[in-house]
Symmetry: C2
Subunit: 169 residues, 2 copies
């Protein structure tokens, strides 16, 4: 039962190490509130992945069935091992921007309109991030450090889009 572990897998494993016994639904909420800014996962995927990992022996399942059937997942030692191996394995290829707005600029869309909208959205998101940081909602060092990356890139985006918004067409 050796399966291919993907980024999705490691996100699930990583969250379950911090919060064993979580259901898929709660995983979804946690992801939306935290990692999704770095790496989002589709809902359908969030429900399928833990099942896959359980089959491979990286998680155990416990179904609490009172009408609404919930399944709680817990990471196994093998799961932790896999996660640690991934964390310890060296760095990766560089990321792509993967920004549709920039892509449209690339292909000749007029910057003005795009820039104005992007600027507002990035500003809103930066505010969210700063709030999250000030409230100190993030107990662990990892998420805090990662949040700094997100904030730095938001600031860069804001500078970029606001320059474009100001520039004449």
């Amino acid at each position: 039962m050796s399966i291919r572990l993907t980024t999705t897998s490691y996100i699930v494993l990583g969250l379950l190490r911090w919060a064993p016994g979580t259901t898929a639904y709660d995983l979804e909420r946690t992801i939306r509130a935290t990692v999704s800014h770095i790496w989002a996962i589709q809902r359908s995927q969030i429900y399928r992945e833990p099942a896959r990992l359980a089959e491979a022996g990286l998680l155990t399942t416990e179904t609490v069935g009172d009408g609404r059937q919930k399944t709680r997942f817990t990471i196994t030692p093998e799961g932790e091992e896999a996660l640690d191996a991934w964390l310890a394995a060296g760095a990766e290829e560089l990321p792509q921007l993967r920004d549709l707005a920039t892509l449209k600029i690339f292909f000749g869309a007029r910057p003005q309109a795009i820039a104005r909208v992007q600027l507002l959205r990035h500003q809103a998101r930066l505010k969210e991030y700063e709030l999250l940081r000030e409230i100190g909602g993030l107990a662990q060092a990892g998420p805090r450090t990662a949040l700094e990356a997100a904030i730095a890139h938001e600031r860069t985006s804001i500078r970029y889009w606001s320059d474009l918004a100001k520039a004449e067409d």
Copy 2:
């Protein structure tokens, strides 16, 4: 034959508008040299996508078969229309970082080692970008403006990772 147009589709359409009569192989090289920093596409996808678009009437094909069979693709008016509609349609959801290195930090990987490697790679990539900009390899305004976004984010990454590399563990 209405198909769903994805980002992949628009990249192919966009490149074919600038260079009609291109083969899949040349598309691949062009993508690797240009857009891939913003949005990469897998080789297998680059060969399948134009075929799909041709079926939907957004491209025409012309097979030049002398031993090695090449297929040249050209954008149709419908193709241009679809592309323009996409370019004109408002801005998108915000991008995610989608950076595995940051994700590992999030889940508790030790920053030092990761940061050192990322720093070197980002520096190398920044140099590539700056070279590209100085040489003026990009005739069109779109790619040039998009390149500025890529450069800005590289600089941000470099600052981030170099801070992390310096910080005590």
